[in-house]
Symmetry: C2
Subunit: 564 residues, 2 copies
C-alpha cells in the first residue's frame, strides 16, 4: 500500500496549534449563536458577529488551520466528536459526492461494469491469502470481537478494501472464458484505523468510495481497462471539480500492495507546493488470481491437447471522497469555499437589496415574487438557484455567508436594478461584478456559470503547469521544492534510490504550513508518478539517475514532490 | 424494536433440512459445471444438466427450500461462506435496489429531504442516552475492540440504526425554529448480529437500507411527514414491485423502541399465509429530543415573556433490501424468479430459434443482425433488452435459464417468424404466448410490459384481499390462520392481551412450510398493524376484544397473523 501519510508528521504540532485556533474561533461563533438563541434573538449581522462567523484564518498565513476552518464553517463537515478520526459529511458534501457518483456510474455502465454489494466484514482466513496485501493493511484493521455480550468464535475485520472479500467468489463465478470479463463495482465505505493525524476528506478512518474489481482473459484487455478508468478519474477532476491532474504510473515503491502496476492521477496544491494522489487504477496482474484460484480453460488450446488453465488478469480501482478535499484546497480563498458550478448544490444565490424600513409591504411582496420568478426562470434552464429572504440579516451579512459557502454566482436585486430591468451579479471565483438584463437571464446565466467553471480550471491548470519543473541538476532540487514546486527528474525507478532521495531532501524549514513560530523541518520528497507525458532529454544508456548517491542509469523522468 | 423474528423459530429444523436440500442441489450443479470446466467443455443443454441447473424444489411443496434455491440459482444472492448470516447481493439484486433508490430519492428530494453521511460507529455513551432504544439493540451490537494489534481504549459498536449517531448533532445544528424542519437521509448498511436463523433479504446480519431522520416544530408537522413517507413506501411496493400492502399503525407492543408511534406497510405471502412487515415510518415524538437536548425557542412566545424552549418532534423511517425478498416470495413460481418489468434489469430476452446445422453462415449472420436491430428498436422506446446467442446451448435450455432468472418477456425469432415478419413472445408471469408484427414492436412491447406489471399487481392484490378475513368469533381464528389467512379482529390494543393471543394461537401443525415429515408446531399469531382502513362493526363501549381471556373493550380492528 502506498504510504501517503508520512508527509503530515513533521508539522504535527503546527497542525495541532492551527486546529485549536480554528476550534476556538468556531466555539466563539457557537457561543455567540447560543447567546443569541438564549435571548431568543437572531444572530444579526453586526460587525463583530460577522467577523466571528466568517473565516478568521488566511489561506496564505496558515494553510492547515484555514482548511480546517473552511470545511467546518462552510458546513461541508462536522467532526464526529464521539470517536476521533471520523467525520460527518453534510448535505453540501454529499451533493458533490453524488454528482461525481452519477457521472462516474454512467461512464462505467457504458463500459459494462455491473454493481454488486459484498459484506463489510472479512475473515482473517481470506485476508491472509495474499501476503503483501495483508501486510499493507493489517496495522489499520478494525476488529469486531464481540456480538452483544458474547465473544465471537472467530473475530472479523471491517473491510479496508474488498479484494479479499470478493475474490473467493470470482473463483466460483468464473467457470469459463465466456464469463470474462467479469466487472463489478460497489459504492460503500471502508475503514482504515489510521494512527496518523486525520484530516477531513484527505485522511479519515472511514471514507466513502467506489471500488471496482474486474477480471479479464489477457494482460492487454486488463491494461486497456486500467487506462479507461484512469481517464474517467481524470474526468472527475478536470470536468467536474475544475482540478488539473497529471496521469502516470506509480513506481514499484508506491504501487498497490500485492498488485502488478498502479496508474494514478496526481494533483498539486499551490498553497504549499505539495503533490497529492488523486485516484488510482491498479492492474493486479495474476497475483490475486493465483492466490484465490481464479482460472479459466485456455480458449486457444486445440482439441486433444488436454485442459490448460489460465489465471485471469485482474484490476481494481477506487475513487474516494478525498477528491472533495483536493478541490477545496485548490479553489478556496480567504473568504471561504469556492465551488465549481457543476458540483455546487446551489449555483446561484439571489439576495434582495435595498429593502429598508420605508419599503412598503406591497413593494416587498412584489420584490419577493420577482425573486421567485428568477428562480423559476433559472430552473427551466437547469440552473440550481435559491434566494435568501431571511429577516434580521443585512445584505452584507448574507453576501459573506454565501461567499463562505462557496456558491459560484451571487445575484443582487433591488429597486435600482428593478428600475433598469437588470440583476446585478458577483462571481465568487474572481469577484467580478456586472449586470444582466432580466430578459437575458435564461440565456446568459448558464453561459456565465460555464465560464466560471472553465476559468477556475484554467487558473488551476496554469498554476500546476508552472510549478511542475523539469530539473537536471541535483543542487536545484531542494530550492525548487522550497519554492513550492514539484519536480520532474531523470530517475532509475529503484525503490532503494527513492528511499535515499526522501532522506536526502529532508530538513530545510518548511514555510508552506503554519506561521513563523511553528516552523517544522520540511519533509523529504517522494515519487508521485512516472508521467505518461514525458519531457525530452533522457538518452537511453547515457543519462544517469539524478540522485548523486545512486549512479544507476535513468529510466524515465519521474515526478517527485513533498506530498500528502 | 419490533420483533419479527420469533416466527421463524418453531420450524427451524424444517428450514435447516430444506436449506441442506437446496445446497446439495446447488453443489451438484456446481460439480457438473466444474466437471465440464475441467473437460474444457461447455455445460451443454442435455436433459440431465437441465434438471440440475434449474429449480429442483416446488414452491407449493417446500416453500423455504424453494426460496433458498430461487435466490441462489437466479443469481440474486450468494451466501457469504466466510461469515454466517451475511449475503452477497449480485447485479440483478443491485439493479432492483438502485431502481427503488432512484424512485424513492426523487420523492424525498421533492419533500426537501437532504442527504448526509454519518460514521458507521457509535460510542456506548451516545447509545445509552435513550434507554428503551439501547435495550432493543444491545444484544445484536457488533463491537470493535481492536485496531491493528492494539486494544481500543473505548470499544465502539457498528451502527444497528443511527439515531444515537446523529442526534447529538441535531442538538448542535438546530439553534432556532428557522432551522426546522431538519430532514436528513442516508443510504448505507447497518449491522444487527442476529442470533436467529438468517434468510437472504429478509433477515441478514448486515443489510442495505435508507434511514431518514427529521426534526419538526410540532407534532402535526411531524405526523404529516410520517404519512407522506409511508405513502412513498407503499409506492415502492405497489408501483415498482407489484406487491400490495396494507397501511396501518403498529400496536404499542410492536412499535419502534423508544418511539412515539410507528406506521407500517404490511405485506402477505400467499404460499404460507404469513404476514410480513414491509417498511416502517416512525414518529419518535419528543423522547429522543429530550434525551439529546434538541430544542428551539418557542416562536409563538411574546416579547418580554422570557425564553421558553420547545423540544422538537422527530421522525425516523427506513426501507431495506427486505422489499426484494417479499417480491420474490410473492411472484416467484416453480420455474424460478418472476420479476415485475419496472425493476428488471433485462425486461426482454431475445432468443434465436430454428438455427440448425443446415443454416448457412450468411443466414445466421443475417439473423443475428436482425436481433441487434430488435435490441436497438427497443432501446429507443426505453425497453431494456438483450439477446442470447451463446453457442452450444439449445433454445429450450436458454428458455429455462431466462425463466429461472425471471425476465418478464421472452421473444423468439427464427426462420418461420422471419417469413411472417413477426416475433413470437412468451410472458413469464402467465406463460401466455403470441406473435407481434416486427413493425409494431416499438409500440406494442412497452404496452405489453406495462400489462404484465399491472397483471402481476392485480393477481397479488386479489390474493391478499381474499386472505384478509374479518373475524368476529374467537373459534374461527385458528382455523382461518390454518387456511393461510391473516385475520382482522376487534382488539383492545393492550400489550398483555397480545402476548396472551400469541400464546393461545400456538401449536397446531404448520403445513405451510416443509414436507409432511418436517412438520413443526405452528407459531402463534401476532399483531401486524391496526389498518388505517377499518372494517365496520365496532360499537364504541360495547364491542369487546375478541380474546376470550381479555374481557376489555375493543378499540379497533387489528390485523393479526402468523408472520415473518
Amino acid at each position: 500500500m502506498a504510504d501517503n501519510a508520512s508527509a503530515a508528521e513533521p508539522s504535527k504540532s503546527a497542525i495541532k496549534k492551527a486546529e485549536k485556533q480554528a476550534r476556538v474561533a468556531a466555539e466563539k461563533a457557537g457561543k455567540v449563536a447560543k447567546a443569541a438563541k438564549q435571548a431568543a434573538l437572531p444572530v444579526v449581522g453586526g460587525k463583530k458577529a460577522d467577523d466571528i462567523m466568517g473565516m478568521t484564518v488566511k489561506k496564505t498565513e496558515n494553510f492547515s488551520a484555514w482548511y480546517q476552518e473552511v470545511v467546518l464553517k462552510s458546513e461541508l463537515i462536522n467532526y464526529y466528536e464521539e470517536i476521533s478520526g471520523f467525520f460527518i459529511l453534510r448535505p453540501t458534501s454529499m451533493y458533490i459526492w453524488n454528482t461525481i457518483r452519477k457521472w462516474f456510474q454512467e461512464g462505467i455502465e457504458e463500459m459494462g461494469v455491473e454493481e454488486a454489494s459484498f459484506p463489510m466484514f472479512l475473515s482473517s482466513k481470506s485476508l491472509e491469502k495474499e501476503k503483501d496485501h495483508v501486510e499493507g493493511f493489517a496495522p489499520e484493521l478494525a476488529w469486531v470481537t464481540k456480538a452483544g455480550d458474547k465473544d465471537l468464535e472467530v473475530p472479523v475485520a471491517v473491510r479496508p478494501t474488498s479484494e479479499a472479500v470478493m475474490y473467493p467468489y470470482y473463483s466460483k463465478w468464473i467457470r469459463s472464458h465466456r464469463d470474462l470479463p467479469l466487472r463489478l463495482n460497489q459504492w460503500n465505505s471502508v475503514v482504515r484505523w489510521e494512527a496518523k493525524q486525520t484530516t477531513p476528506f484527505l485522511r479519515a478512518r472511514e471514507f466513502l468510495w467506489q471500488e471496482g474489481h474486474t477480471a479479464h482473459l489477457t494482460e492487454e484487455l486488463a491494461g486497456e481497462e486500467v487506462l479507461q478508468i484512469l481517464e474517467l478519474y481524470a474526468g472527475v477532476y478536470e470536468q467536474l471539480l475544475a482540478v488539473p491532474v497529471v496521469r502516470g504510473r506509480k513506481t514499484e515503491k508506491e504501487k498497490f500492495a500485492g498488485g502488478y502496476y498502479t496508474t494514478t492521477v496526481e494533483g498539486y496544491i499551490p498553497s504549499n507546493g505539495r503533490g497529492i494522489q488523486g485516484a488510482t487504477s491498479h492492474c493486479l496482474g495474476q497475483n490475486f488470481s493465483k492466490m484465490f484460484d481464479i482460472t479459466v480453460e485456455d480458449p486457444t488450446q486445440k482439441e486433444g491437447e488436454g485442459a490448460k488453465h489460465i489465471h485471469v488478469w485482474q484490476n481494481s480501482w477506487g475513487l474516494s471522497t478525498r477528491v472533495i478535499g483536493v478541490m477545496i484546497m485548490i479553489h478556496g480563498d480567504d473568504k471561504g469555499l469556492v465551488l465549481p458550478p457543476r458540483i455546487s448544490k446551489i449555483q446561484v444565490i439571489i439576495i434582495p437589496v435595498g429593502v429598508t424600513k420605508n419599503t412598503t409591504p406591497e413593494d416587498k411582496t412584489k420584490m419577493y415574487d420577482q425573486l421567485q420568478d428568477f428562480k423559476d426562470t433559472l430552473k427551466k434552464v437547469k440552473v440550481r438557484s435559491d434566494y435568501d429572504v431571511r429577516d434580521g440579516y443585512t445584505p452584507a451579512w448574507k453576501f459573506n455567508d454565501w461567499e463562505l459557502k462557496g456558491v459560484p454566482l451571487r445575484l443582487e436585486y433591488g429597486p435600482k436594478d428593478a428600475a433598469k430591468s437588470v440583476v446585478s451579479f458577483a462571481r465568487r471565483d474572481t469577484g467580478e461584478k456586472g449586470t444582466i438584463a432580466i430578459s437575458d437571464m435564461a440565456a446568459e446565466i448558464p453561459k456565465l456559470l460555464e465560464t466560471i467553471q472553465s476559468d477556475m480550471y484554467a487558473k488551476a491548470e496554469a498554476s500546476f503547469r508552472s510549478h511542475r519543473v523539469v530539473i537536471n541538476k541535483w543542487e536545484e532540487v531542494v530550492p525548487t521544492l522550497d519554492s513550492k514546486n514539484v519536480v520532474l527528474i531523470p530517475h532509475c525507478l529503484a525503490e532503494k534510490c527513492e528511499d535515499q532521495i526522501k532522506d536526502s531532501t529532508k530538513g530545510a524549514p518548511d514555510e508552506s504550513d503554519g506561521p513563523q513560530d511553528q516552523k517544522a523541518p520540511s519533509m523529504g520528497m517522494k515519487s508521485l508518478c512516472i508521467p505518461f507525458e514525458q519531457p525530452e532529454g533522457i538518452v537511453k544508456g547515457e543519462t544517469k539517475c539524478l540522485n548523486p548517491e545512486c549512479g544507476a542509469l535513468a529510466e524515465k523522468y519521474c515526478m517527485f514532490g513533498r506530498s500528502y
